[in-house]
Structures are given as structure tokens and as C-alpha cells.
Symmetry: C2
Subunit: 295 residues, 2 copies
């Protein structure tokens, strides 16, 4: 009773889990996505994994977290940069036909937000805004334990928020967008451009730990942009809690702690004294758990 399948469909890995009604993982499987072999092959692999984790168990439904853009209402994967070859694939229809059970689709950041809010760092909070900062930036907004999708599924798409109209022109996002200025990719780009530091964000953090001033300057700028983005969200919906996930946020010393301080500079005094920004806690498993919660 109350068992669901949660699927985390990523560009690199596909993860499938059997999750109980409390959001705990009962069975878990992971495989390489290999989307270059065609989407049919990926769906075939996912289907086998579903059968394997659910083995004989009665399930209430299947939830899938996938990279955007998606059509959430129709359950269609449109044409995600991270899933080459997927082009208007009606994944919900395909899987519900195959398994005769309700199937739900939402984007990866929304699904992680749902998991963090319900069984991760956000437990007990009324409103949680989740932001993941890695290669790109994603977000999701959870109110009273439920995902707030917005009218057309674009709530939480803060990657495209404008932070500096004179800033970097991202290839598919706004000039000076949050993702263009504050993502891991942006850290690597600015480090190379300003100081000839190659090796991406990882190298920047390594150098910063060694005391390199140029690397620290890049990180400091990043923290400022992150603080502005969070302040903008706080002045729009004032969530009780911000939960920060993704590789960049794993740097507690260089990113999270300075961010918690710097954001106060951009907030009304009462907001500054009440804002809460904490790290995500379900790293790696948030996807399947949150996906199962879509059911």
C-alpha cells in the first residue's frame, strides 16, 4: 500500500526507485542513460528497471523528474539540451500505456524541491524555495508541502531571471540572467576570461582553497550574484526557507556561509534578520524521492 515508482531521468544517469508513502526508498537502481543510443532504448531500460524495483509490489503510480523544457500538463518531453534526440516524446502516455498506472512528469529541479521540502532540509516549513546551482541553475517552490507550478509550469524557472541587464549574454537565456552569472559554468567562464584560469569551477574552488586571490574574486562575484537572485525571490514570495542544492553549493566555506551574510545587504531589515538559507540534504536521492511524490 502506498508504494510508488520515482524516476530521475538525467543526461548522465537514470535512477529508478520504489518509494513508500513516507518518502523512504525501498528499492533503488541506477544505470547510464546513454541517450545517444536513442530515446526508445532509454525508455526500454527504464521500463526494465521499473519492473525490477517493483517486482510483484502493487504500485499507486509512477512519477518522473526530467530536464526541461517539458510540457507538464501533457506529459511530453520537448527537446532538452541534456537529452539529445528527445524531441516531443510523450513519455507519460508511453509509460502509462505500458504499466496501466497513472504517470506524472515534472522538471528535475521541481521534483528535488518537493523531496527537500517534504523529507529533506525543509521538513516543518510552510514555504520552501529550492535552488540548485551546478552546471546550470534550477529552482522549485513548495507551499504547504505541494509544488507550486504556476499557471504554465514556469514557477521556479529562476535561471532566466534578469540580475544585470548589462551582464553576460547566455545562448538561450536572458542577457544578464541568473544562470548566466551565477552557475558553475559561469564561474569557469569568468575565471578563464578575467584571469586565464582554465579547468572550470572545480579548478577555481581548488585555487581558492590554496589562497589564490583571483579565484577568490571570481567566487566573491558569484556569491554577490547568488545573493541578488535570492533577494529578488525573497522580495517576491518571501519563502520561510531557502534550500540550496547542486555542486556549487557544496562549497560551504566559500559559497554558502558568505552567501548567508551577503544576502542580508540586499534585504529589508526585518527580512534580513529572518531569512533562512540552508544546504540540501538528500543529495543524489532527491530526484527519485521527489518524483515518487508527484503521484
Amino acid at each position: 500500500m502506498g508504494l510508488r515508482i520515482g524516476i530521475d531521468l538525467g543526461g548522465t544517469n537514470v535512477r529508478v526507485a520504489l518509494v513508500n508513502e513516507k518518502g523512504s526508498i525501498v528499492e533503488f537502481l541506477q544505470a547510464s542513460t546513454e541517450s545517444e543510443k536513442g530515446y526508445q532504448q532509454v525508455i526500454e531500460k527504464m521500463s526494465l528497471m521499473i519492473e525490477k524495483v517493483s517486482e510483484g509490489a502493487e504500485i499507486d503510480g509512477i512519477g518522473i523528474g526530467a530536464p526541461g523544457p517539458l510540457d507538464i500538463k501533457k506529459g511530453v518531453i520537448l527537446s532538452p539540451p541534456n537529452l539529445p534526440g528527445w524531441d516531443n516524446i510523450p513519455l507519460v502516455e508511453i509509460l502509462s500505456g505500458k504499466f496501466g498506472t497513472p504517470v506524472f512528469l515534472n522538471n528535475d529541479a521541481n521534483v528535488a524541491a518537493l523531496a527537500e521540502a517534504n523529507v529533506g532540509s525543509g521538513v516543518g516549513y510552510e514555504s520552501v524555495f529550492y535552488i540548485t546551482v551546478s552546471t546550470g541553475i534550477g529552482g522549485g517552490f513548495v507551499i504547504n508541502n505541494k509544488l507550486f507550478n504556476g499557471a504554465h509550469g514556469y514557477a521556479g524557472e529562476v535561471a532566466n531571471m534578469i540580475i544585470d541587464p548589462n551582464g553576460y549574454q547566455h545562448s538561450v537565456l536572458n542577457k544578464g540572467s541568473f544562470e548566466g552569472l551565477a552557475s558553475g559554468t559561469s564561474i569557469g567562464r569568468r575565471a578563464e576570461q578575467d584571469f586565464g584560469i582554465t579547468g572550470g569551477a572545480k579548478q577555481v574552488f581548488t585555487l581558492a582553497a590554496e589562497g589564490n586571490e583571483q579565484a577568490r574574486k571570481i567566487i566573491d562575484e558569484t556569491v554577490t550574484y547568488l545573493a541578488m537572485g535570492i533577494a529578488n525571490i525573497a522580495h517576491t514570495v518571501n519563502p520561510e526557507l531557502f534550500v540550496m542544492g547542486g555542486g556549487v553549493m557544496e562549497s560551504i566555506e566559500f559559497i554558502l556561509l558568505p552567501l548567508q551574510e551577503k544576502v542580508k545587504k540586499f534585504l529589508f531589515p526585518e527580512l534580513a534578520s529572518s531569512i533562512k538559507i540552508v544546504p540540501a540534504s538528500l543529495t543524489g536521492k532527491a530526484g527519485v524521492i521527489g518524483a515518487a511524490m508527484l503521484v
Copy 2:
């Protein structure tokens, strides 16, 4: 049955209405605020107006919309620039003591948002983001006909959202804040600074109507900033409808119509094709109606 008092406490006027459960005004009174005579005098005047509009009727409670900053939960008016001399005034406690009925306080933009969403331009929409652009900028977010205040009452405080970190330094808001760049005051300031046009926003609109290129340039910049602010809100919560109020928005030809077009430039394609931005419809009465809806 179902009658409430709605109070719109502004810097210039105080309006008091008896409002029925459908949000229709039954009785209405207006007077000058004259806050320079002291807050006690204003509260005395409000009390007399309450007695007059409710005359013998049984009321369910009193709602008040007032300029911020406020402490909504405690019902205290902190120290609004628009109400000089009001400093930590526990208005809710004072009026509930006087009238023996529940009293609710919220900020003027939130209250107007509630009215527009429920009986104004937002009727029938699930999520409505209201923005008022006049001397300053205010906002309010209504989900399923209820005000979304956020954890500490700062939802909708988009005036302080950062639009351009290198932009104008407002006296009490962020550098490059939405209000600092897109309000009526900002129109007047930029017109004087860039082109020596005095006479404020009103004169800028008059000149623009006469074909003045400088005035049109200022207005065009304003529309760009408004479009960026709306795009940022859309990418954060994707409301089904934006309702625009305030004096600046009354210029349909020079502000609203170009804004509806320009905002699309800053949105994901599907958002661009689905965004709805409409003018407010309860001008002047939104305050008392929305205040009554707090009850």
C-alpha cells in the same frame, strides 16, 4: 449578515466603507488624513467614520489597508514615510478595543491585490500578481483568492527587487531597485537629469503625447524596466494574470500596450505566448474593498 468595514488609510485620504460579503460597497465615506495633526486625531476621525457607515448594522470585523512598513501579525503600523508621526502604533489593538470586533491590517498594495483578484480584473484567475506603479511601486500576490503574504509578510514587496545593480541608488531601497528605476518618481527624476524636463512624470506624459522624443525615450526606458520586473516575477511564480494599477499604468498607449509587447522579449517562448497583463479596474475603491476582504 456578512457586513464588514474596509478602511483605506492613505497619506492623503482616509476612506471608510461598509462592504457586503460579495465585495460590494454599501456605504462609503472619505476625508483628508491630515496626519500632521497627530495619529490620535486620525484614529478619532476613522472611528467616527466607522460608526457613521456602519450605523446600527452588525459587522463581522474591520480590515485596514495602510502604507508600509507594517507588522501584519501584531497589527502595528511601524513608521511609514507616508504617515509622518506614526511610529509603532498598535492600530489593530486600538480599534479592536474600541469596537469589540476582530480587526486585520495589511499593506495597501496587498489589499488592492486582494480586491482586484476577487472582484476586479482578476475574477476567475487562479493566481494573480498585482503591481501598482505610481509615486512608488507596490505589489501583492493572490493564490486561489487568498493573499499570499509569505513567511514574514514580505511577499509582493517587489519594489526592492534588483533590476540593475549599476542603476540608481534609491534612498531606502536597493541600488538599481525596481522602484528606483520604474516608478513615477523615477520617470520624473530621469527626465530632469537626462533632458532637463521638469514637472515630473505628468509632464513627461504630456510631452510624449505631443511627440517629444526625449519624453518618449524616458518612457521607453521605463517600459523596459517594467518588462524586466514582470519577467522576473513570471520566472519565479508564473502567475496566471498580472494586474497593473497606479497612476503610471493609466497611460495605456505609452505604458501598458508597449509593456505587453516588450515583456515577451524577456520570457521563455511558451511564457511569452501565454502571459496576460491587464489594467486594474477598481481604481480608488480597491483599497476599502480589499481591506474588508481581510476579515
